[in-house]
C-alpha cells in the first residue's frame, strides 16, 4: 500500500493528557491503574480512570453531545495542538476533503445506563434531558468530532469491539486511495461504563489485581478510559522522523463470539496481511505491541500466532498493564505508544508481569530497552473474532 504520513496525534487516558505525559509514564514505568472507585461500581478490580472528566463539559454549542465519552474526546482533541493542526489541514485541503473515521465500542452508553435509573415511575419514560443521538448512539463520537473540528468530509464510526480504532486506519487508507478524501482524522474513544465492567465480570474475565499480561498467573483484564486521534495525510515526502502508516491487515476468526481461536489463525492472517501491505518481512519488525489483554486464552492464542510468524526473538510487550484494556480505544492508543517507542528509541517493557508464563514463547519484555527500530507492529483483536494489525514506521 501507499504509505501515509501520521502528521499529528494526540492521546489522553489514565496516564495523563498528551504525548509528554505518556512518554514520561512509559520511561518511568508508571501505571494508571488504581482500585476501582468508578461511579457506583462495587466490583473488586482495578481500573485506569481518566482524571477530570466530571469538571470538563463539552463546548457549549455542542451541549447535546455532553457525556463522559465525548468529554474525553474533547480533552484529547485539544491535547498537543491536535485541533489546531486539523484546522491548518482544513485550510490546505478544504473541509469536505478530510474524512473522520473514528472507533468506539460502547460510545456514551453510560448516559443510558444512568438514565434507566431515573425512569418515570408511572410511565417508564427516560428523563427529558437525556439525548440518545448525542451520547449513546454509536455515531456520536464521530458526529461530535466532525462538528468540533468543522469538517465536512465523509464521517463514520467503526464499532468492531476491541479492534475498532486499529481498523479506522484501514478505512482511512481505502478512502484516501479511492480519492474520496486527501486526509483523515482517525482514532476514537472508549470510556468506563457498567455494561463492560459487569459484562466482562459475567464472563469471569475481570482481574482482581492490576492486569498481568503474559504472566503465568494472569487472571483477566483491567478496564480503562482512553482516547487518541491521528491526522493521516497522503504526502509523498514526510519530514525525517515523522510517523508513517506502512501497512494494515484485517481478518476474522470465524471461530467463536467471545473466545479467540486457540492457534490464533485469524490473528496470523491479520499480521501477515499487514506485513504484506507494508512490503516488509517479519525480520524487519523491531518491536511488537501485543494485544496482550492478560486473559489466559487471549495471551496464549496471540503468543502462538506471533511465534508462528516471527519466531521467538522479536521483542514484544503489552502496554495494558499501564492503561488497562481500553477496548475500542486500544488500537489508536497502542499505535501511538508504538510511534512514541519508534521516535524515542526505546521499547516499553510490560508492567505488572512478574513471572513470564513458561508456556508462552515470544520475547516478552519485562523492562524498557533502548533500541532504534525501523518498523513496529501493533495488534488489536476483538469480540466477534475481529482482528487488525498495523505496521508503523518513521520517515527516513
Amino acid at each position: 500500500m501507499q504509505a501515509l504520513t501520521i502528521s499529528h496525534f494526540s492521546i489522553a487516558n489514565s496516564l495523563g493528557v498528551g504525548a509528554a505525559a505518556q512518554l514520561d509514564a512509559m520511561r518511568t514505568r508508571r501505571s494508571g491503574l488504581a482500585p476501582c472507585r468508578f461511579e457506583t461500581v462495587t466490583l473488586n478490580t482495578f481500573v485506569g480512570e481518566a482524571a477530570g472528566l466530571d469538571d470538563a463539559p463539552v463546548r457549549a454549542d455542542l451541549a447535546q453531545f455532553d457525556c463522559r465519552n465525548n468529554r474525553l474526546a474533547q480533552i484529547c482533541l485539544e491535547a498537543d495542538g491536535f485541533a489546531a493542526a486539523v484546522a491548518a489541514a482544513r485550510e490546505r485541503y478544504g473541509a469536505a476533503r478530510i474524512g473522520v473515521f473514528l472507533g468506539t465500542s460502547t460510545s456514551g452508553i453510560l448516559s443510558t445506563e444512568q438514565a434507566y435509573r431515573h425512569r418515570d415511575p408511572e410511565r417508564g419514560t427516560l428523563p427529558a434531558d437525556f439525548c440518545y443521538a448525542g451520547t449513546h448512539s454509536n455515531f456520536s463520537v464521530a458526529d461530535f468530532a466532525r462538528r468540533y473540528l468543522r469538517l465536512d468530509g465523509p464521517a463514520l464510526v467503526v464499532s468492531s469491539a476491541c479492534s475498532s480504532t486499529a481498523k479506522v486506519f484501514g478505512h482511512a487508507r481505502r478512502m484516501i486511495a479511492a480519492g474520496v478524501c486527501d486526509a483523515a482524522v482517525v482514532g476514537g474513544v472508549d470510556t468506563l461504563c457498567l455494561t463492560t465492567l459487569y459484562g466482562f465480570d459475567s464472563l469471569g474475565l475481570v482481574a482482581r489485581a492490576p492486569c498481568r499480561p503474559f504472566d503465568a498467573g494472569r487472571d483477566g483484564i483491567s478496564l480503562g478510559d482512553g482516547a487518541g486521534f491521528a491526522l493521516l495525510e497522503n504526502t509523498a515526502a514526510a519530514p525525517r522522523g515523522a510517523a508513517r502508516l506502512l501497512g494494515v491487515g484485517e481478518s476474522c476468526d470465524a471461530y467463536h463470539m467471545s473466545a479467540p481461536h486457540p492457534e490464533g489463525l485469524g490473528a496470523q492472517m491479520a499480521m501477515r496481511r499487514a506485513l504484506e501491505a507494508a512490503g516488509l518481512q517479519p525480520a524487519d519488525i523491531g518491536y511488537i505491541n501485543l494485544h496482550g489483554t492478560a486473559t489466559p486464552a487471549n495471551d496464549a492464542g496471540e503468543d502462538r500466532a506471533v511465534c508462528a510468524i516471527f519466531g521467538t526473538g522479536t521483542p514484544a510487550s503489552s502496554t495494558k498493564g499501564a492503561t488497562g484494556h481500553l477496548l475500542g480505544a486500544a488500537g489508536i492508543t497502542e499505535a501511538i505508544f508504538s510511534i512514541l517507542a519508534l521516535q524515542n528509541g526505546f521499547l516499553p517493557g510490560g508492567l505488572n508481569t512478574q513471572d513470564r508464563d513458561p508456556a508462552l514463547s515470544c520475547n516478552y519484555l519485562l523492562d524498557n530497552r533502548a533500541a532504534e527500530v525501523r518498523a513496529v507492529l501493533s495488534n488489536s483483536f476483538g469480540f466477534g473474532g475481529s482482528n487488525c494489525s498495523l505496521v508503523l514506521g518513521a520517515a527516513h
Binding site: 448512539s137 468492531s160 476474522c252
Partner: protein
C-alpha cells in the same frame, strides 16, 4: 467508483426477499406492509443458532440471500456491516439488569451487545476469515456503508458484501430513537462484470448538500424516512426499474452520495 451489483438480499415489512419485491419497488405492484418473518440461520452451529438475536438473524438472512443471488462464495468475500444502533432489545435488557441490585448480565447478552455481533456470527456461519467491518452512522448508516464498501471494491479490486440492517428499540428507548420497522438489505458488490449482475453503480462522494431521492408510494416513503437502512430504498427501486438513472443519497448535513445506476445483464 464503479461497482457491479452481483446480488441483492432484502427483508422488511412487505419486502420479503429481492426477487419477490422487485415489482413493488419498481412501482408495478402495490406495497402491502405485512410483518416480516425471519427464520433461524441454518448455516450456524446449534449453539450459535440458539444465541443469535433477531438483529443477527436479520443480517444473516439478507446476507445469505444476497450471496445466493450473486453466485459468489461468501467464505472468500469481505463484508461491511452497517447499522445505526445494533441490537436494541439486547441493550434494553442490559440497562434493565444494571438498575437491579445484583447487576447480573448473562454472558450471551454481553457478547451479543457488541455492534459487530452480526459480523461475528456471519463469519462463523460462512467460515469467512476475510476482512469485515461494522459501521455506524446514525441516520447516515447506509450511506457510510455504501461509500466504504465501494471504496474497498475500487481500491482492493475484490468483491465486498454490504449488509445494512436496523431493528426497532424497545421502550423507553424507542420513543427517543424511533426505528420504525426491522429492515435489512445486502448488496454483493464486485469490481468486474459477472453473469448475475443486476446493476452497475458509479458512486461518488460530493461535499455539498442535495435533496434526497424519495419513494413515490407513501408506505415505502415512510419506511425510507423511518429506518436508516431503508435509506437504500430509492437505490433498490432504481435497480428494480432497470433503467438508467442518477440519484442522491444524503450522507451528513453538508454532503451526499451521487449514484448513477445502469442496468446489469
Amino acid at each position: 467508483m464503479r461497482v457491479y451489483v452481483a446480488g441483492i438480499g432484502l427483508a422488511a415489512p412487505g419486502l420479503a426477499g429481492w426477487q419477490a419485491s422487485r415489482a413493488v419497488l419498481a412501482g408495478s405492484s402495490p406495497y402491502e406492509p405485512v410483518p416480516i418473518v425471519i427464520n433461524p440461520c441454518e448455516l450456524l452451529p446449534p449453539a450459535e443458532r440458539r444465541r443469535a438475536s433477531m438483529t443477527v438473524k436479520l443480517g444473516l438472512a439478507v446476507g445469505e440471500e444476497g450471496f445466493l443471488n450473486a453466485g459468489i462464495d461468501a467464505a472468500t468475500t469481505a463484508t461491511v456491516f452497517t447499522s445505526s444502533g445494533g441490537d436494541g432489545e439486547n441493550i434494553h435488557r442490559i440497562c434493565e439488569a444494571l438498575v437491579t441490585p445484583e447487576r447480573q448480565i448473562s454472558p450471551t447478552r454481553f457478547h451479543n451487545s457488541v455492534h459487530n455481533a452480526p459480523a461475528g456470527y456471519w463469519s462463523i456461519a460462512t467460515h469467512s476469515r476475510e476482512a469485515s467491518t461494522s459501521l455506524a452512522g446514525h441516520d447516515a448508516s447506509f450511506a457510510a456503508g455504501l461509500l466504504d464498501a465501494a471504496a474497498q471494491v475500487a481500491v482492493d479490486g475484490l468483491p465486498v458484501a454490504l449488509i445494512a440492517h436496523d431493528s426497532p428499540y424497545f421502550e423507553p428507548l424507542h420513543s427517543l430513537r424511533t426505528i420504525a420497522e426491522p429492515f435489512g438489505v445486502a448488496l454483493v458488490l464486485t469490481p468486474a462484470p459477472g453473469p448475475h449482475d443486476v446493476a452497475v453503480l458509479d458512486i461518488s462522494f460530493v461535499g455539498t448538500p442535495a435533496a434526497p431521492a424519495t419513494m413515490q408510494d407513501p408506505g415505502l416513503e415512510a419506511l425510507r424516512c423511518g429506518v436508516p437502512a431503508a435509506r437504500s430504498l430509492p437505490l433498490l427501486a432504481a435497480i428494480a426499474r432497470a433503467g438508467e438513472e442518477a440519484l442522491v443519497i444524503p450522507f451528513l448535513g453538508q454532503n451526499h452520495l451521487h449514484v448513477r445506476v445502469n442496468p446489469g445483464n
